[in-house]
């Protein structure tokens, strides 16, 4: 879903990170940007206050939902 802010078209991205190789990736936040490059720059600027060993972003549109709260599995 696109919506208009400063940019003509933006996308939402979920940000995932972990602090050690042993722990699973977890969602630490989200960013909104017009392209992948700016989304990466924003994710790093916004969420780099902790010592992550790994960080990645995923376009929210790429996430395939199986069911949502209140829905049957």
């Amino acid at each position: 879903m696109g919506f208009v802010r400063v940019h003509d078209e933006v996308r939402e991205y979920e940000v995932f990170a972990r602090k050690t190789r042993l722990e699973p990736l977890r969602q630490v936040g989200a960013v909104v940007a017009p392209d992948d490059e700016l989304a990466m720059a924003y994710a790093r600027a916004t969420y780099d206050e902790e010592r992550w060993v790994e960080m990645m972003i995923v376009p929210k549109a790429a996430v395939i939902q199986l069911w949502a709260p209140g829905e049957e599995a």
């Binding site: 400063v6 003509d8 960013v31 490059e37 720059a41 600027a45």
Partner: protein, 214 residues
């Protein structure tokens, strides 16, 4: 310092945060570079207006977001190319210390490139590109001399070529009149940084907020 001025004035909250983060990165980079220079035996310079070797683009606060975008996309790329040349040279202190700086600058470049794609900052980009080329210096100057000694892994011509490649357009070095180039301050234009910013850089501005006798 100029990045920090935009940390509450950028077009989006995310860009505000990025401006603050990039400003902090660059303060850290300055500390590493000054520390390396000291370790390499470079004497401290007297902190006075004429000793600042900033590019003219940084003389005054930017009044338009496109000026930020061009500095971020073009000047920052120019500085990063020089850091790359130092990190690829034969001075061990610089080879080992500048790698983290290059990793952080990668995100500055992404931020600058993306905003340049949509901000229409043509005039500001041309000005920033010219300042970056002047900062590299003319062919056959100190940069090429250091390249010849292996201290820098890139010479002037290659620095310009990579700037063109990464930023787009042409560095138009032929249009620059090098006769007035100051090799110490690495600029052609006279002048320097504005007084208010200079006071902040020298720590004078903070003293105004301290109670008397503190």
């Amino acid at each position: 310092m100029r990045y920090a001025e935009w940390c509450i004035a950028a077009p989006t909250l995310e860009a505000d945060i990025a401006a603050a983060a990039m400003g902090l990165d660059d303060i850290g980079h300055s500390r590493v570079l000054y520390g390396s220079l000291r370790e390499l035996g470079t004497p401290d310079v007297v902190d006075e207006p004429g000793s600042y070797a900033n590019v003219p683009y940084l003389d005054r606060p930017w009044t338009d977001w496109t000026a930020f975008v061009a500095a971020n996309g073009v000047l920052d790329t120019g500085f990063t190319l020089m850091i790359e040349a130092l990190a690829g040279g034969n001075v061990e202190v610089l080879r080992s210390r500048l790698k983290k700086m290059l990793q952080e600058e990668r995100y500055h470049a992404m931020h600058g490139r993306s905003w340049m794609r949509e901000s229409g900052a043509v005039t500001a980009i041309d000005q920033a590109r010219r300042d970056a080329v002047v900062w590299f210096g003319p062919e056959g100057s100190d940069v090429d001399d250091l390249h010849g000694k292996g201290i820098l892994s890139l010479g002037v011509r290659e620095l310009r070529r990579r700037l063109d490649e990464q930023v787009g357009g042409s560095a138009e070095s032929a249009a620059i009149d090098w006769k007035a180039w100051d090799p110490m301050r690495r600029r052609i234009n006279p002048g320097g940084i504005d007084e208010l910013t200079l006071n902040m850089l020298q720590g004078l501005a903070e003293k105004r907020y301290m109670p008397a006798g503190a």
